[in-house]
């Protein structure tokens, strides 16, 4: 075998001379700082759709919170950073998600929850500020710069979301799979969307980009 495709989860990588892990949750783990990054949770999307007349059942936010809990426990995280689009739409009065979220927050009292404000978060202003540490785009966390929209930053290696990157894998027999990916680009890493009710966008790789696929069987390093 030239290059082993099989990788036990999670996949260790090095970014800006720091050792990190790609977790199939999907999230990016910085073990030295006990910090985890996820992007684009889009909480409240199902509710917004239901209010707009699209009959999607509930359950997806609950599962997303459970997946976050699992990620936090798996890596004993002390801090979780959401790289934007925490909310899909601002919560309305009596939104069931708010109660579920506050209960979840109670289960992780000691956790610091930082959210980099994304485009979808803007109308939500600083909602649930007692539970969330809202930060503007571009905050520094040396050697990283945390953003929602990807950009080759001047302050360090950018960690971002926003794109919901996916790619389509093709097998020899016409088999096809559309999977979320991590885009590891020079100067910028884009995380796949975390939210269960989010779609994805395919884009062509840039020069020097490496990609890793997120599948139920773990993270796979994709040949470029």
């Amino acid at each position: 075998m030239t290059r082993s495709a099989r990788t036990p989860r999670p996949l260790p990588i090095e970014l800006a001379d720091e050792a990190l892990l790609l977790d199939p949750a999907p999230g990016l783990i910085w073990p030295a700082e006990r910090t985890g990054f996820v992007a684009d949770t889009h909480f409240g999307k199902g509710a917004a759709m239901r209010r707009g007349g699209v009959a999607v059942p509930t359950g997806s936010s609950r599962d997303d919170l459970a997946r976050l809990s699992a990620l936090i426990e798996r890596h004993a995280l002390e801090r979780l950073v959401v790289l934007g689009d925490f909310f899909h739409a601002p919560p309305v009065a009596g939104e069931p998600f708010v109660a579920a979220f506050m209960a979840w927050r109670g289960d992780h009292e000691r956790l610091t929850l930082t959210v980099v404000r994304g485009n979808h978060d803007r109308p939500a202003a600083d909602a649930l500020a007692s539970a969330i540490d809202w930060q503007p785009e571009g905050i520094r966390e040396a050697p990283f710069e945390l953003r929602h929209e990807p950009l080759t930053g001047s302050h360090g290696h950018v960690l971002a979301g926003h794109e919901h990157p996916v790619t389509t894998l093709r097998g020899p027999d016409g088999d096809r799979l559309r999977v979320p990916i991590f885009r590891l680009m020079p100067g910028c890493t884009v995380l796949p969307a975390f939210g269960g009710l989010t779609g994805g966008y395919a884009s062509a790789p840039v020069d020097g980009e490496a990609r890793a696929a997120v599948t139920p069987a773990g993270i796979f390093d994709l040949p470029s």
Binding site: A5, K45, A55, V56, P57, H88, V179, T215
Partner: protein, 819 residues
């Protein structure tokens, strides 16, 4: 003679006079249709294209209007439904033609998705007496407040080319709209125009609904005899055993085009059309101005220009797909050529009928086989035509997605009462058997989101104020109206040059398979994909070495059951030397070879061949049940054989048979093979061996769009709606996970079985295979019957494998590609 004081007699005289001025005389069936209409009846007119059936349907309401003492209140009086909006303009012109001379000052206008909103508003203020429209636009008219008042004056609905709508969800949508119109005007008369179908009675029943009992059938003129011939290869030339283009016969086809005044050349797929167009131009560059291309992806204006060129006799040849199957005749066309097997008799006759003709003169359609066995299909089509064995088209039943959409349409309009609506809905053929539970589910779906209230907090779409069900939110109403127009069309992407200049539209799925830099032939031009943004694929002119045309999705219609039966008979006759048809004579060498190397199965025989090649062991099984049924059968048999011997099976199918390939020697005995051919446990085992969920997931796209679970919207408009977008795949997964009992998921699974796998046909085939005598041959070489299957691309199913191995295989494949 009635006295001139009788206004109806006067109207009749005017009509007769109009005919006489043209040197015509009304045909008996036309008179019969008028009489029935004037007697208040509804009915179905079955007649050839170009035989005057439009006038048979149209002049009844016109005479009634002429005989009216005074003008009645405003509002459309006649709705003329056409399946294709592209036909609306022609139809309007045809319907208008006799009116001035008859002295009726009716306005005839069209209202389709192409109609400008200013025109639609004017039509709403001052409605024309006759509207030419599509099922979608009719549905949309109902989705506005005041619809009941505006449409109460409709006396007649005339459905053109009903056979085209029947069997589709648009047909179901129309059935529901008709039930609504009958609800507000119980004396509404419904008339349909249909080409020949194997189930005209059922077609009539579906169209007329509760009026079916008293409905009449008007049998039109069948004065358009059609002769089916084929371009037989010269004896002695080696004819390809497989293939799908047929370009080896190009010189002969060119000669036929040259001999004709104007020629329509039909292909089965768009890619075939592109290739033939290109090949004809390469062969005869001097014809550059006289050859045109017409298919569903090409820009509307360009298609219109091509159609005008055909009518005016300016074009020597138009290469077309089913996009030209419908519509009025092209008088100058005197030659119709069909490339490849038509796969069905009805379709071939429809195409043959597109040539203009003198009454009583035989129209000829020339079929060009793309490979040897298509000769049999052509002979079989001729026999089926002679026997009057035309395919049936089954109307759909219980499509809950369409019902949900229609109820929201009613709620967006004047609202509905549940008890009344249920009675109305049950008058349709599609929902006559709707159960109370299904009805309750649909009501819950549109009011609460789904059956379980707790699963859908905050949901609002349709509300029940205790009296009527209504949509009160303007945003929801607007989005629903937008969605009504898109009942079944696949999401389409615009193909456009980078510097502007639109080339046409193509299914999203086609573009999704391309990468930037890929070249393809589109609308007769080689282009290169530059990038895709929103719903537009930007391309540039391609230069440099040409590349293959990627295959467009679809186009692979299965051989109809009718034709498949005739094919088997033809083959048996050819084997026994009893055949008279020139096609079967041309095939005699091949038939003899098949007999010598193996066997040519007759009715009551099931041929199984086993051949060993470098690739492994091939099993060829020939049920002659059409490619869709064979796909299901191949998976089923592979799965069952896998119970004896663990193995990975490669599979391929065509209309005659299926192939199972294994890399190792299985040493199966004929008894073991025979044992897996049984109808027992079919449904359960089929679910197990197919990746049923994945198939249903794909099928769900259309259902989700119709039922309003995905909203596609329009580019550049209604940005706010972006918040509500999610792909149908995502919605499917969400429902699957959180609402597994959802009725629309059940519908998707049912549609996979009935449409995608032709379950009934599969079951019939399996039963008949089990009852047949199994003829088993170990063949040293691929036989003429087996070769086309061997040449087909193999499709593996991967349902039994886990994620890990699938992904690893894909990565291995990527690595190989990367070198």
């Amino acid at each position: 003679m009635a006295s001139p004081a009788d206004p109806l007699s006067d109207a009749r005289e005017r009509v007769e006079g109009w005919f006489a001025q043209r040197g015509w005389q009304p045909a008996a069936f036309q008179r019969a249709a008028w009489d029935a209409y004037l007697a208040g009846q509804s009915g179905l007119i079955h007649s050839d294209t170009g035989s005057g059936k439009s006038l048979a349907a149209w002049l009844g309401p016109i005479m009634a209007a002429l005989a009216e003492p005074a003008r009645r209140r405003a509002g459309p009086r006649v709705l003329w439904i056409t399946p294709l909006r592209a036909l609306a303009a022609d139809t309007v012109a045809n319907l208008r033609a006799p009116l001035p001379e008859l002295g009726l000052d009716w306005r005839v206008e069209q209202r389709t998705g192409d109609t400008a909103s200013s025109t639609r508003q004017r039509q709403q203020r001052s409605p024309p007496e006759a509207l030419v429209t599509t099922p979608e636009s009719l549905s949309l008219m109902i989705a506005y407040r005041g619809a009941e008042g505006r449409l109460a004056g409709v006396d007649a609905v005339i459905v053109d080319e009903w056979h085209e709508l029947l069997g589709s969800k648009r047909g179901v949508q129309l059935e529901l709209c008709l039930a609504f119109l009958r609800g507000i005007n119980p004396s509404l008369r419904t008339w349909g125009l249909s080409a020949t179908l194997g189930n005209l009675d059922e077609a009539q029943q579906a169209l007329l609904g509760p009026a079916a009992q008293s409905g009449v059938r008007i049998q039109g003129a069948n004065d358009k005899p059609i002769r089916i011939r084929s371009l037989c290869p010269d004896t002695g030339t080696r004819f390809p055993w497989a293939g799908h283009l047929g370009l080896h016969l190009l010189p002969q086809v060119v000669a036929r085009i040259e001999a004709a005044q104007s020629c329509l050349l039909f292909t089965n797929t768009r890619s075939q059309a592109e290739r033939w167009h290109e090949a004809l131009l390469a062969e005869r560059p001097d014809w550059a101005d006289g050859i045109a291309l017409h298919h569903g992806s090409i820009q509307r204006e360009q298609r219109d220009a091509v159609e005008a060129g055909l009518r005016d006799g300016e074009l020597r040849c138009v290469v077309a797909t089913s996009s030209l199957d419908l519509g009025v005749d092209f008088a100058p066309v005197d030659q119709v050529i069909q490339i490849g097997s038509p796969k069905g008799v009805a379709r071939l006759l429809q195409r043959a009928g597109r040539s203009g003709h003198q009454p009583g003169v035989t129209s000829e359609v020339l079929c060009v086989p793309t490979h040897a066995f298509e000769l049999v299909e052509i002979a079989a089509a001729r026999r089926a035509q002679a026997d009057g064995a035309i395919e049936a088209r089954r109307p759909l039943r219980r499509s809950l997605d369409v019902l949900a959409q229609h109820l929201v349409t009613l709620a967006t309009g004047d609202g509905f009462r549940a008890d009344e609506a249920l009675i109305e809905v049950r008058t349709t053929h599609a929902f006559a058997d709707l159960t109370d539970a299904e009805w309750a589910w649909v009501l819950d779906f549109i009011t609460q989101g789904g059956a379980v209230l707790t699963n859908y907090p905050q949901f609002r779409r349709v509300s029940d104020n205790g009296e009527r069900y209504r949509v009160t939110d303007r945003g929801i109403a607007t989005r629903h109206r937008m969605a009504v127009g898109t009942i079944t069309s696949d999401p389409m992407m615009r193909v456009q040059y980078r510097k502007g200049g639109s080339l046409g539209h193509v299914e999203e799925g086609f573009i999704a398979r391309l990468s930037p830099g890929d070249r393809f032939l589109f609308g007769g031009r080689y282009v290169e994909l530059v990038r895709v943004r929103d719903t537009t694929a930007y391309v540039k002119r391609a230069s440099g070495p040409k590349r293959e045309v990627p295959r467009w999705q679809g186009g692979h219609l299965p051989l109809s059951t009718t034709l498949a039966a005739a094919v088997r008979e033809c083959l048996a006759e050819a084997r026994d030397g009893r055949a008279q048809d020139p096609e079967l004579h041309a095939l005699s060498d091949l038939v003899a070879l098949q007999q010598r190397w193996s066997h040519l199965p007759g009715p009551g025989e099931l041929l199984v061949e086993r051949t060993r090649t470098r690739d492994g062991e091939h099993l060829f099984i020939f049920p002659f049940a059409g490619r869709l049924a064979h796909e299901g059968l191949a998976s089923l048999l592979a799965w069952r054989l896998g119970q004896y011997r663990s193995a990975t099976f490669g599979m391929a199918v065509n209309d005659y048979g299926l192939q199972l390939v294994t890399g190792k020697r299985l040493e199966l005995t004929p008894e073991e093979i025979g044992a897996v051919i049984t109808p027992a446990n079919l449904a359960e085992e089929l679910e197990q061996c197919l990746n049923a969920d994945e198939l249903a997931r794909r099928r769900f796209r259309e259902i989700a769009r119709i039922a309003g679970l995905v909203f596609t919207g329009y580019p550049g408009r209604n940005k706010g709606a972006r918040q509500l977008q999610a792909s149908s795949g995502l919605i499917f997964d969400t429902l699957h996970r959180y609402a597994p009992e959802h009725q629309l998921l059940a519908q998707a699974r049912e549609e996979v079985l009935s449409n995608q796998l032709e379950y009934q046909r599969l079951a019939d085939a399996l039963a008949s295979m089990a009852a047949s005598r199994l003829v088993f041959h170990d063949t040293p070489r691929l036989t003429p019957l087996a070769f086309p299957l061997w040449a087909e691309r193999q499709r593996n199913r991967l349902s039994s494998e886990d994620w890990q191995s699938r992904v690893e295989r894909m990565i291995a494949s990527l690595e190989r590609a990367a070198g």
